[in-house]
């Protein structure tokens, strides 16, 4: 049984560019949450998707957007990249939004 998978593993972009990160949830899960983990910090909640809708959002600007597909996979898009967007981006999946979240290995984004 595959766990949560994320792609790509690493990514290097320059300021002002746009990036798309992808996440496939654990089998049987229908809810996906995204977190940003800056170096030396705990993960911070970006948003959560359930039934293809954004259900809750953390304190992140509109440059951060997402999408959930009918197969429950999800994308995180970040526009107009800033140096401060450099971080590990974690995806977590669960069955319903009120249950244990399982985390993927993350995508390391570096903005130069």
């Amino acid at each position: 049984d595959a766990g949560v998978t994320q792609s790509p593993t690493h990514l290097i972009k320059t300021r002002g560019q746009q990036v798309t990160l992808r996440c496939s949830p654990k089998s049987g899960h229908d809810t996906v949450s995204w977190y940003q983990q800056a170096l030396g910090q705990g993960p911070q909640f970006i948003f959560q998707y359930y039934e293809e809708e954004e259900r809750q959002r953390g304190n992140f600007p509109d440059r951060f957007s997402g999408h959930q597909f009918p197969n429950y996979s999800s994308e995180l898009n970040v526009n107009a990249l800033l140096l401060g967007d450099s971080a590990l981006y974690l995806c977590a999946s669960s069955f319903g939004f009120n249950n244990e979240q399982f985390f993927g290995p993350g995508t390391r984004l570096t903005v130069l």
Binding site: F45, Q48, A92
Partner: protein, 118 residues
């Protein structure tokens, strides 16, 4: 609003000695509390969770934590540290609304780096 304070950014112990990682929380409702571990270049793994059942929670790898509402604490302990326990540990809170649902998001502390010396 919910928040978590991990009282130590770094804890260093000798192999075979007890581990204590301290966590205090703030929550508007009856919270769910978790401890996650993150090994280098690996994903977050759930160690244990408290969801209003027994206040002493047992987790994987010999870890346990006690929920103390009066002290708003949820400290993580292990009787005897192993070298493989060296990692970053995160205390996490998730509010549960009075209706019984969750507010969906997890709020993480800043983490405690556990070093185990031989």
């Amino acid at each position: 609003a919910q928040s978590v304070t991990q009282l130590d950014s770094h804890v260093s112990v000798s192999e075979g000695t007890p581990v204590l990682l301290r966590c205090n929380y703030s929550s508007s409702y009856s919270p769910s509390l978790f401890w996650y571990v993150q090994h280098p270049n690996k994903g977050l793994q759930l160690l244990l969770k408290y969801t209003s059942a027994a206040t002493l929670v047992k987790g994987i790898n010999g870890f346990e934590a006690e929920f103390k509402k009066s002290e708003t604490s949820f400290h993580l302990t292990k009787p005897s540290a192993h070298m493989s326990d060296a990692a970053e540990y995160f205390c996490v809170v998730s509010d549960r609304h009075s209706s019984g649902g969750s507010n969906y998001k997890l709020t993480f502390g800043k983490g405690t780096l556990l070093t185990v010396n031989p």
